[in-house]
Structures are given as C-alpha cells and as structure tokens.
C-alpha cells in the first residue's frame, strides 16, 4: 500500500518541545517537506536562531548551526560564499530578525546574498516570556507593554516584507500565516518558491510567516489562530509581494 502521508526525511522522528497551538511545528514540517520535494536535503545547511526555535537543530535532519541573536544572515553569508552550490537558509523570529538583527537582514538583502530566510512573526518575544517585539501591534498587551503598546511611548511595528521588497538584491518576498489549512497550504507554496529561488541562484528570498503564540498571547490555541487572522494579518497583509 502506498502511504499518502508520512514524516518527511528532513524531519527527525522526535517530539518537539513547542507549546500547544504554537506554529513552529507546522513551519518546520513545511520546510522539511519542501526540502525533500526539491531533493536538496543532502546539500542544505540551516541556521537556527536564538529564541524558541533554537532547538530546531534537534528536529531537522540535515546540517544545522546556531548563530548569535540576530546574526543568522551574516553567518549564512559566510557559509554560502564559501559553498555557493549548497542551499543555505536562516530560520528567524521577529525579535531576532526585526530588532537585534535588523542590520544583518537589511544588508544581506542589499548585497543580494543567495539565501532563503524564513521569518516567523508571532508579534512578541516567545522564549523570554512575551515581551514587546518590533512587530507587536498598537494596543497589544505584552509583558513590557502591560497597558497595551502605545505608539506615543513605544513607537510603531514595522513591515519587514514591504521594506525588503524594495531592494534589487531581494528577488522573492511573501507573507503567509499558519492558521487555517487554506493559509497553511499557501505558506508551503511560498516557502517552496523561496527555496527554488535559491536553487536558481536568484538572490535573497524571504517568507514571513504569521504564527500563533497562544501561551504568550494568553489565549486558547483556536482563539490565537483567529487573532492572527483577524488582527495580525490586518497590519501584516498576506500575499506575494515580489517574484
């Protein structure tokens, strides 16, 4: 009998440490499926971020390295320039990529590094206990904005995808959400295109994935999914923006 659905070879057969309702597990699986389908597992090197997904190296079944907080695009630049025929991707959260690592992602994009970036936006710092992130919405309550983010006091969230699409060196950008199955399937399409972009040696590709963090949003998993679709996706609209 032919199996219709099985664990991708690029994903190890181990339970993850992620909380109930967290989006990381789904995003990991999509990446693993795409890498399997493109037949690039044996030449892929992933960079795990500082944050909840640092342990991604325990789940992916290919070469992975850790990087200091915010620096994955710089580390990936070093790897890719030395091994231009390998596939190098970074997996980064919103604090990692859009706050402490703003310089690295902007300049990797400006240099047109041939990398794939998976950018997970859950609107907060997950691992450290739900502090305000550069993608926290106005009015959103976090550990460091107990009365809700106030533009006057804490400034505004920024849209990474809409900024990076302006750079000539960035050739594919899209934003999806791991919420309802329709959206999850679209995320897979985006991530597949982002990796193909690198296979075809075309410049930097980035997929932002809106992802629920029920624990830090203080919501039930289903409620968090709905919040991502109704609130987060309002400010960070879904779709392909370039390429």
């Amino acid at each position: 009998m032919k199996p219709l659905y099985k664990r991708p070879e690029s994903l190890r057969d181990v339970p993850t440490h992620y909380c109930s309702g967290c989006g990381h597990g789904i995003i990991h699986r999509i990446i693993a499926e795409v890498i399997d389908e493109l037949g690039i597992r044996e030449k892929t090197i992933g960079i795990a971020p500082v944050g909840c997904a640092v342990l991604a190296y325990d789940y992916f079944n290919f070469d992975v390295m850790e990087a200091p907080h915010g620096r994955p695009p710089a580390v990936a630049t070093g790897i890719k320039r030395v091994l231009p025929d390998r596939i190098v991707f970074t997996y980064q959260g919103d604090g990692d990529l859009a706050a402490i690592g703003t310089g690295e992602i902007i300049h990797a994009g400006l240099r047109g590094e041939k990398l794939t970036v998976i950018f997970v936006n859950n609107s907060l710092y997950g691992m450290t206990g739900g502090q305000m992130a550069p993608t926290t919405l106005i009015g959103e309550k976090t550990a460091t904005t107990p009365k809700g983010r106030c533009a006057e006091r804490e400034g505004y969230p920024w849209n990474v995808v809409e900024v990076l699409k302006l750079f000539p060196g960035v050739t594919y950008v899209a934003r999806g959400a791991v919420t309802q199955p329709k959206n999850i399937r679209r995320v897979k399409v985006f991530i597949r295109k982002a990796f193909l972009n690198q296979v075809e040696n075309k410049g930097l590709s980035l997929v932002e994935v809106l992802s629920p963090c029920p624990v830090n949003l203080r919501m039930e998993p289903f409620e968090a999914v709905r919040w991502v679709e109704e609130n987060l996706a309002e400010v960070f609209p879904l779709g392909e923006f370039k390429g």
């Binding site: 044996e42 850790e66 200091p68 620096r71 710089a74 070093g78 790897i79 030395v82 310089g103 690295e104």
Partner: protein
Amino acid sequence: MPSRKVLLSGNEAVGEGAVLAGCRFYAGYPITPQNELTAYMARRLPEVGGVFVQAESELAAINMIMGASSAGALAMTTSSSPGISLMQEAISYMAGMEVPVVVVNVMRGGPGLGNIAGSQGDYLQATKGGGHGDYHMMVFAPSNVQEMFNFTQEAFRLSQKYRNPVMVLADGYLGQIMEPLEIKKAELPPQNQGWILDGAKAREPRLLKSLYLPSEDLEGFNLHLQDKFRRMEEEILWEGSEVEDAEKILVAYGTSARICKEVVRIGRRAGKKWGVFRPITLFPFPYQALQKIGKGCEKILVVEMSSGQMLEDVLLAVDDKNKVEFYGRMGGSLPEKEEIMKRLGSGV
C-alpha cells in the same frame, strides 16, 4: 616555494601571511589603524580564488567568518580596539562551538573612541576572555613586520589544531611600520574536515552549537574546553635577550619590547647587565620561564603602552613581587628610552 624579500607594512604582512597560510575568506569593516589590511585582502583574495566581503559592521564581519569557517574555509577578520569590542560576543560563541578563526587586533588608544595611535590597552580583553563565559583564545604578540607575517600563519595552524579562535595582537605602530619581509609559505598540516557543515551527503547530519541546557552537560563541555586551554601550554613562546646574566630585566611585548631591546643595547655598551624578557604568546603566558629568569635578577621593570595590564601576569609569575616595578604610557604615547634607563637606576 622559494622565499623572497619585499618591503611591506605590518598590516600588509598580516594579509600576505594569511593568504599564504591558506586563508580564503575574509570579512572586515573599515577602522584605523588597520585599513591597509582590509584593502590588501580586497585586492589579494580574489587573485587566489578567495572571498572578500566588506561587512556592514564588525558584528557582521565576525559572524561571517564564523559561517565561512563552519563551511570549511580558513577565515579571518581584522579590526582595531573598538571593533574588536563589538566582536566579543561572537568570539565567545566560536569558543563555545569550537569554530577556528583568526582575529587580528591592531590596537589603538582607548577607552571609548580614544584615538588612532598604537596602544596596548586591550591585553586583558585579549588574554582573559573578553567575551562572556569561561574561555580563552591563544594570543600572539608580534613585534616586527616579519613576525606579523609569521605569527599570522601560526595563528591559522593553531586555530585548526585546537578548533578555537586565535588572536594576533598588534598595535597601530606595528601595523603602519614598513620593514623588509622574507615571504615564505607555511607548510600547514591538512585540516580536519570531520566537523564542518557542507551538507549531509552520505553521512549523518552535523550540528554546531554552544547551547547545553542541562547544567551537567554544560559543565562537562566546559571541562573539555578547560582541558584544551591547558594543553595549549605546549605552544608557549617567549624570547630572552641577554637575560642569562642580567641583573635587571625589562619585561615587554610588541612595540614596547622593541624599545626595551634598544635600551638594553645601549646599556650593555655601557657595561650594564640588563636584559629583556619578551612574551610572544600572551595566552598561554610564559609564567614558568619568567619565574625562573626572575629568580636570578634584582629588579624587573614591566614596560607597557597601558596602565599595567600584562603587569598582573608578571606579578603572578615572579616569586618576589617586591622586585617588580612598572612603567607605562597610555593614549598612544610611547615609552621613552631615557625614562626606562632612569627607572633601571642609571643615567647612561
């Protein structure tokens, strides 16, 4: 390859030494007084099929060489004091992930923006850890252009041998000075590639990390690192000039040691029994050699272009601390021969 003689600056000598040692990836960010080095690599690396990247910051530069080395290339970055401060986090990560790289610090005056003159104010940062956590780098202190070249090559060899970052600690004067240099290619042993990340083809996937969540795991890993740092003691280098019968010994490294050697030359002509002890590896420090030499002399004068940083190691080495005196200049000023002679108790 036959050796040949050229006239190069210390900065350029580091660059050529790196290229001939097999360095094929360099990332750097402009900062004085080491800019000739970055420019040299920009021109020279593409000639040998290597990669040069001008990074957007020292943070990015050090992380780029972390990636390049993890992918199997011999990799280097260079900077000067403020830039080296920015690199400390990643140096700690590389000690923790056992990623070998070469970092060159052409020191300038500090603290803060300081100035662009040569200084030796980063000794403690270089030798005692610098970044967070329990780690060390091997640190070489060249004192002329030839040594800038030679010890850069040694730095590559030993970074590979121990899978640990190695620093070449020079200063702005050594970077800028021009001297004849004998160019000779180092014979480096083949690299151990059994840990690099180049894609899990026909092998198990590999992982480079410094995260060990259970305390006992992290302590175990730290014990392994400490053992490695102890083993580095077999690489200790130092130079003694006229120390055998010396009654008074100057202890200095780098540019300061050049000045001290000149003082001893003048003193010896006048019949003074003076000598110079010059540590070449600052980590590991030649404690035992200095202890032995210190026994036979009546005075030890430590000379540095700092407030007295190596002085702490000299005091650890010497049994009779009362013998030890210090003379230092800061802010890019050079120790003066006449002042050193005066402190040695002589108006030569």
